[in-house]
Symmetry: C2
C-alpha cells in the first residue's frame, strides 16, 4: 500500500510511473513531519534495521552514519564520506513495524540514521518541494515490490552484456585492443566486451573517434564482432567548446546547453577542457543529445557507458579567476600558516564546487531552474536521453547502457557501475554490501570495477574480486591511468586461475540470466541480503557479507587478504559447491548454523539452497557460444524440485513470449525434464 504526500511545489522528476492520488501532508505512523516538510523523523528501536539508499558507503544496515543524496564525483570512497555518485532516496525501516519511504526530491537530501542520536532517524530536505511516498507492507520484500511497481521496470541489457568485460583508462588504439583479445583468447579467458575509455575520442569530444588510433572504426568494430567482442565506448556529459565541432555548433545554435545567470552558455572545464553541459532536463535537448548516439550505433556499436554526469566539473573560469586573484593577494602578504591552509583549501575546492552548481540553469517547461535544486537529476536524464534515443533509433533492440551518476527512475534506462573505487580489500567488501541496496532501488544491472579502479591491485585481490564478480550482472575489470596494469594476463602464474574463475561465470550464465530477467520482469531483486529471505532468523538479520543470488544460490565471498577460508552462517541446511573450475569441485552438505569453510585463493564457494535448482551451461569463451542445448543441473533436493527457467534471444525485447519460459522438473527419482525444451540436461 502506497501513500503519497506532496510538499511545496515539487519539480516533476519522472522517478515514478504510477499515478497515485496525493493526500494532505500529515504525520504517518511513527514518521513525524516538521511543519513545512523539511524534516521527517522517526524513532529507531533497538532491533530496527534500516535498508536502502542504493549506492552509498558503509553496510547493508545503514544505521550509525549520516548520508547525503548529492551526486558527487569523489574518487575516495571512505567511511567518512556522505555521498557517492548516485541519489537513491529509498529506504525501509524494518523492526517491530516495517515501512518504506521514498523521498522524491531532486536536490540534496540528508539522512541522519542514528548518527547524531543512536535511537533516531532524521531526514532533512533543505528545499522542501518534494513528493513523499510511504510504503506499507507485510515484509521488506513486499515493500520493495511495491516500490518497484511505483518506479517502473528495471533496465534489461542484451545478453552479451552479462559476459566478462575488460576495461582500462584507456586502450589507446586498435593494435592494443587486438593484442588484448589475442592474449585473452590464447589463454582461454572468456571475454565478451572491451571498454573504450576517454582516449578513443578525438580530444575528448563526445561522439567523435580519434582517427589516428582508429583509422577505420566501423571496420574495427566489425573485426571485433567477428571475434565475438563488443566495443563499448564511454560518453561524457560535457561537450567540448570548439568552433567547428558539430555537436558544439549544433548545441549552441539550437540552445541546448545549460545557461549561466546571464543566459549565456555555462562553460566549465572537464576532460576536453572548456565544455558545455547539454540541458538534458529539457525533453527537446534529450532528443537532440540522444540522437548523437546514432553515429556510433551506425558504426556498429551496441553499448555505451555514460560518465562524468554528476556532472563533474574540474573548474569554472569564474572560480579559477577568483582563485588566481586570491593567490595574488597571498603572494603579496608573505603567507602565514593560516593563509597557507586557506590557499591550499582554495585550490582543493576548485573541482565540483557548490558555488559552480549554483551558478547555472536548466530550462524546465520554459522555467529557469537553478542547477543545484535539481542536481541529482542530471545523470538520470543524460542516460534517459540515450535510452529514449535507443527506442527511436533501434526499436526492439537492446543496447547496453550504464551510467556513473543516477537517480531513482534512471533504473528504467540503464544500469550503473559503482564508480571510481580503489584496489582495496575494503572496497571489495563495500561492493558486496552495495549490491543488495542497489537492487532494492531498481538498479539490477550493476557491478563494481573488479580489481579496483584507483591504486595498485594485487594478484590475490584480483582473484577474490573475480570470485565475487562472477555473480554481479555487470562483470567488468577496470583500472585507472597510472595504476598497475590489471588485465588478467598481467599476473604471471595466475592467468590460468583467473581463466578458470571467469569460466565459472559462463557456466552459471543460464541461471544468472534467468534470475536477472525474472527479477526485472517481476519487480524483484536479483541479489538480496539473507534477512530478506529469512526475516525471522535473528542471526540472518545481521549477516552483511553473504548474499542470495537469485532463488537458489547463496554466496559467501572471501574478501580478506591472506584468508584461506571464512565463516558462514546458514539459516537452513545447504549444499556447498567449492569450485576450482567448471570440472574441478567438491561438494559438502552443511547443516543450518555456523561453519568455518575453507576456501583456497582459487576456490569459489557456492551454496545451493534445499529444494532449489541451478541451471548451468558447459561454459564458453563468449556468451554467444554458450550451448543451451546441453544443460546441467546443480541441485540440493531430496524430494524433487522445480525451477522456472527464463531464456530468450538476448537481443530483442519480446520478453513476454511464452517460449521464453521453461519449467525444469527434478522428480523424486532424480529424473530431470524441461518443458518446452529439446536439448539435453544432466545433473552434476
Amino acid at each position: 500500500m502506497i501513500r503519497k504526500f506532496v510538499f511545496g511545489t515539487p519539480i516533476n522528476t519522472d522517478a515514478t510511473v504510477l499515478h497515485i492520488p496525493a493526500e494532505d501532508p500529515q504525520d504517518i505512523g511513527e514518521v513525524i513531519l516538521s511543519g513545512d516538510g523539511s524534516e521527517l523523523s522517526c524513532k529507531l528501536e533497538e532491533q530496527d534495521i534500516v535498508y536502502g539508499l542504493g549506492e552509498q558507503v558503509r553496510g547493508i544496515n545503514k544505521r550509525g552514519w549520516s548520508y547525503a543524496s548529492n551526486c558527487a564525483d569523489d574518487p575516495l570512497h571512505t567511511e567518512g564520506k556522505h555521498s557517492l555518485y548516485g541519489a537513491h532516496n529509498f529506504l525501509i525501516i524494518d523492526g517491530r513495524r516495517c515501512f518504506g519511504l521514498f523521498i522524491d526530491a531532486p536536490g540534496k537530501v540528508c539522512f541522519d540514521i542514528g548518527y547524531t542520536e543512536h535511537e533516531k532517524m532524521l531526514i532533512t530536505i533543505p528545499e522542501p518541494d518534494y513528493v513523499l511516498y510511504y510504503i506499507a507492507g507485510a515484509s521488506v520484500t513486499e515493500i520493495v515490490r511495491e516500490f518497484r511497481k511505483l518506479t517502473g521496470r528495471s533496465y534489461i541489457p542484451p545478453k552479451w552484456a552479462f559476459g566478462f568485460g575488460q576495461s582500462r583508462w584507456s586502450y589507446m588504439n586498435e593494435e592494443e585492443i587486438r593484442e588484448l583479445v589475442r592474449e585473452y583468447r590464447d589463454n582461454g579467458i572468456p571475454l565478451d566486451s572491451i571498454y573504450l575509455d576517454i582516449d578513443y575520442m578525438d580530444h575528448y569530444k563526445d561522439f567523435t573517434v580519434n582517427e589516428e588510433a582508429f583509422p577505420d572504426f566501423p571496420g574495427f568494430i566489425k573485426e571485433m564482432q567477428n571475434e565475438r567482442i563488443h566495443l563499448v565506448p564511454i560518453i561524457d556529459a560535457g561537450v567540448k567548446q570548439e568552433a567547428g565541432y558539430s555537436v558544439y555548433e549544433e548545441g549552441t545554435a539550437e540552445n541546448c546547453f545549460c545557461k549561466d545567470s546571464d543566459g549565456k552558455d555555462f562553460v566549465a572545464a572537464v576532460w576536453p577542457g572548456k565544455a558545455l553541459f547539454p540541458d538534458v532536463l529539457n525533453p527537446k535537448v534529450r532528443v537532440w543529445f540522444g540522437n548523437h548516439y546514432k553515429e556510433l550505433i551506425d558504426a556498429g556499436i551496441e553499448g555505451f557507458w555514460n560518465d562524468m554526469n554528476e556532472p563533474a566539473i574540474f573548474y569554472s573560469e569564474k572560480r579559477l579567476r577568483k582563485v588566481f586573484g586570491q593567490i595574488e593577494a597571498y603572494k603579496g602578504k608573505n603567507l602565514d600558516i593560516k593563509s597557507f591552509f586557506e590557499f591550499k583549501d582554495l585550490v582543493g575546492s576548485l573541482d565540483n564546487n557548490p558555488e559552480d552548481y549554483a551558478s547555472f540553469y536548466h530550462d524546465m517547461d520554459g522555467k529557469k531552474v537553478r542547477h543545484d535544486r535539481v542536481h541529482n537529476l542530471f545523470g538520470f536524464n543524460m542516460t534517459r536521453a540515450a535510452g529514449e534515443a535507443f527506442d527511436r533509433l533501434a526499436p526492439g533492440k537492446r543496447i547496453l547502457m550504464f551510467s556513473r551518476s543516477s537517480y531513482i527512475g534512471m533504473h528504467r534506462y540503464g544500469g550503473i557501475w559503482t564508480g571510481d573505487n580503489r584496489a582495496w580489500w575494503s572496497h571489495l567488501e563495500l561492493s558486496i554490501k552495495q549490491m543488495p541496496s542497489l537492487n532494492m532501488c531498481g538498479f539490477l544491472f550493476c557491478g563494481s570495477d573488479i580489481g579496483g579502479f584507483g591504486d595498485d591491485t594485487t594478484p590475490d585481490l584480483m582473484m577474490r574480486w573475480l570470485e565475487f564478480g562472477i555473480f554481479t550482472p555487470l562483470m567488468r575489470s577496470h583500472s585507472a591511468q597510472g595504476t598497475r596494469l590489471q588485465e588478467l594476463t598481467r599476473f604471471g602464474n595466475f592467468t590460468q586461475d583467473y581463466a578458470r574463475i571467469v569460466s565459472l561465470r559462463y557456466m552459471l550464465m543460464p541461471y544468472i540470466y534467468s534470475e536477472y530477467m525474472k527479477a526485472a520482469l517481476k519487480d524483484a531483486m536479483y541479489i538480496r541480503p539473507l534477512s530478506f529471505e529469512y526475516p525471522r532468523d535473528e542471526r540472518a538479520r545481521t549477516v552483511e557479507d553473504q548474499l542470495l543470488v537469485g532463488e537458489s544460490i547463496m554466496i559467501a565471498p572471501v574478501y580478506q587478504q591472506n584468508a584461506l577460508g571464512r565463516y558462514v552462517y546458514l539459516p537452513e541446511k545447504m549444499k556447498l559447491y567449492r569450485f576450482r573450475s567448471e570440472c574441478d569441485y567438491d561438494i559438502e552438505v552443511l547443516q543450518a548454523g555456523d561453519h568455518y569453510v575453507k576456501a583456497d585463493l582459487c576456490e569459489v564457494l557456492l551454496f545451493v539452497r534445499p529444494d532449489k535448482l541451478v541451471i548451468l551451461s558447459r561454459g564458453a569463451k563468449s556468451v554467444s557460444q554458450i550451448n543451451t542445448n546441453q544443460l546441467y543441473l546443480m541441485d540440493y533436493s531430496e524430494n524433487g524440485a522445480k525451477y522456472d527457467w527464463y531464456d530468450d534471444d538476448g537481443v530483442s525485447k519480446t520478453y513476454a513470449l511464452p517460449q521464453n519460459w521453461h519449467t525444469v522438473c527434478l522428480d523424486e527419482k532424480g529424473t530431470v525434464s524441461i518443458g518446452n525444451y529439446e536439448g539435453m540436461v544432466n545433473r552434476i
Copy 2:
C-alpha cells in the same frame, strides 16, 4: 642466533645495543643478496607468513602488498598507502623455515612482500650502506626475543600512564579542562590524564605556555594533580623562528639547527609558521633540546608526547616561491586540462616534499649528512633527546613519553601512538592488527586514538573502540579540530555505558600492568597474534582479529558496525567472560573450535585460557586509587594454576626489587594464596 652483515659504510643508527662481530656479506640461507646489498630477496612458499614492519597498513601477515619505511606525516591511512609515521625494518618469515631480518638502514627501505610476484619477497635499500641482521630461532617467539635483546629493553612509563587519557586538538584553557574533569568525575568515568595539544603553547612555540589561557600553569598543574589528573603537553619538532624567543635564539647562537646546503639554518613552515629543526642526530643538540623539557618538568609536568617529528613540513620558502612562480606562468597561458592538473598537483605537493627533505643537513660527528639519507632517525632522536634528558633531570623517575615518528631503537626511550587515524570501523580493525606488529618491534607502550582522530565518530564506534582500547597499554581518546566532539560525555545516553567500559580497564589494571612489565623486563610481547602461541595450529595461524593479551587473556574485539556478535576461533578450550560492567557479567566455558559469540554493543568479550590466572582490582576512578590490598582472581583452572604477579610503586625504576614479584597460587581445592603479599584475594 644473530648474524650481522655490513654493507657499504653505514651510519651508526644506535638502533642496537649488543656488540656482534660482523661477517662478510653473503647469501644467507634462502636470502639472496644482490652484489652491492641493495636488494635482498627470498622465495615465499605457500604456507609462509611474513610478520613485522611495526606501524604499517594492512594485516598482521604482511604478504600481498608493498611497503616503504619512509616516515611520513600522512593523515589518510588507506590500504593503498606504503608508509605511515614509523620505520620498523624488522620482519620474520615463518613457514617451513623461520627466520628474522632487521635492516638497520636510516634511509628509505622498500619491502615488496608478494606484491609484484605472489611468491617472492624483495627488499630494496636504495642507499646500500647499512647493517643487516639475520636472526635464526626455533620459533617466532624466540626470534622476537633475540631481536629484542639486540635492540634493548622497551620503555617503561609510569603506572598512571596506563590510566585512561582524554585528548582533543585542543582544550583551549584552564576552565575548559576543569569542566571536562568535573564532567568525568560527575559521571563516574575513570580518568588519569588530559592531553594538551598545540594550542596550550604561546603561538606554537615549544616549551612555552599561552599565559592568557593558563595564567598560572604550575598552579593549574598542581590543582589537576590534586584531582589525580596528569596534564600531558605536546612538543613539536619545529622551533619557531622568532626574534627574542629563547629557544630559537639559543639554538641559533649555539648552532643547534639543521642547515641548508649553504650552511645557513634551514627554515620551513609548520604550525608556528617558519620554523627550524633541532639537529637531534647530534648528541650535543640532544642535550640542549632535551634540557628544555626541564621548564615543564619543573612546573610539575610528568609526561609528554612528541609530534610532527617525521619531521612534517608544510612547505619551505624555496618551494613555495617556486610554486608561485609556476602559478604565474599558468596564469598567463590560459590553463588547459593538462596544466590545470599540473597546477593542482604542484600545490598538493607542497607539504612533506622529498625535494625539501633532500635540501637540509645534519652534523653527525662533524660530517655533513643530507637529511633524506637519515630521514627515519629524526623522530627517534627527538624522543631520545627527551629520554636522555629525563635521565639527567629526574634520575630514577619515570616520565611518560610517546612519539608519532619512530625508528627501532626509539622503543627504549618512549612509546608511540599510531598517529592521525580516522573515525572509521576499518581503522579500529587496523589498530587491532597493528598492535602485535608494534610489540614485535619493541614498541610495547602504544595505542591508537580511540574513536578516531579525523572524521566524525559515532556513539557505537566509540563504544567498540573503547572495548578494544581497554587492553592497549596507551588508552587515549583523541580527535581533531573540526570533528564531532568525542569526549565520553558527548553522546547522550551512552555516557554511563562508556563509564562502565573504562572502569573495566581499572579493574584489569593489576593484570595489565603486570603483563606489560613482564614483557618489558623479559624482552617479550604484551600483545601477540594467536599464531605466536599456537604455531602448529593451522587455523590459528590465519586469525588476524583475535589477540593474546599477556599470558592469560585472549580478546576478540567486535569491530564491525551494527554487529551484535562475532565469530571466534579457540585453539584450546577457554572460559568466556562477557562483561557489561565490573559487577555484571556472565561466564561460559567454550570448547576448542569455532564459535559465534554474541556481544551486545556494551559487552566486552574476554577469554581466559585454561590453567591461567588474571589478577584484578575492584576498579577505581584513577590509577592511584586502585586498592591492591583487595584483589580478585579470574581463572579457568581445574587443577590449580600459578601466576607471576609483578607490581611496583609505578614511579621509580627499581624494577629489580624482589618484592615486586609475587607468586599467585590457586590450588586444586580452589584456595588462593599470594606469596609476599598481605592483602585479600578472592576468586570471582
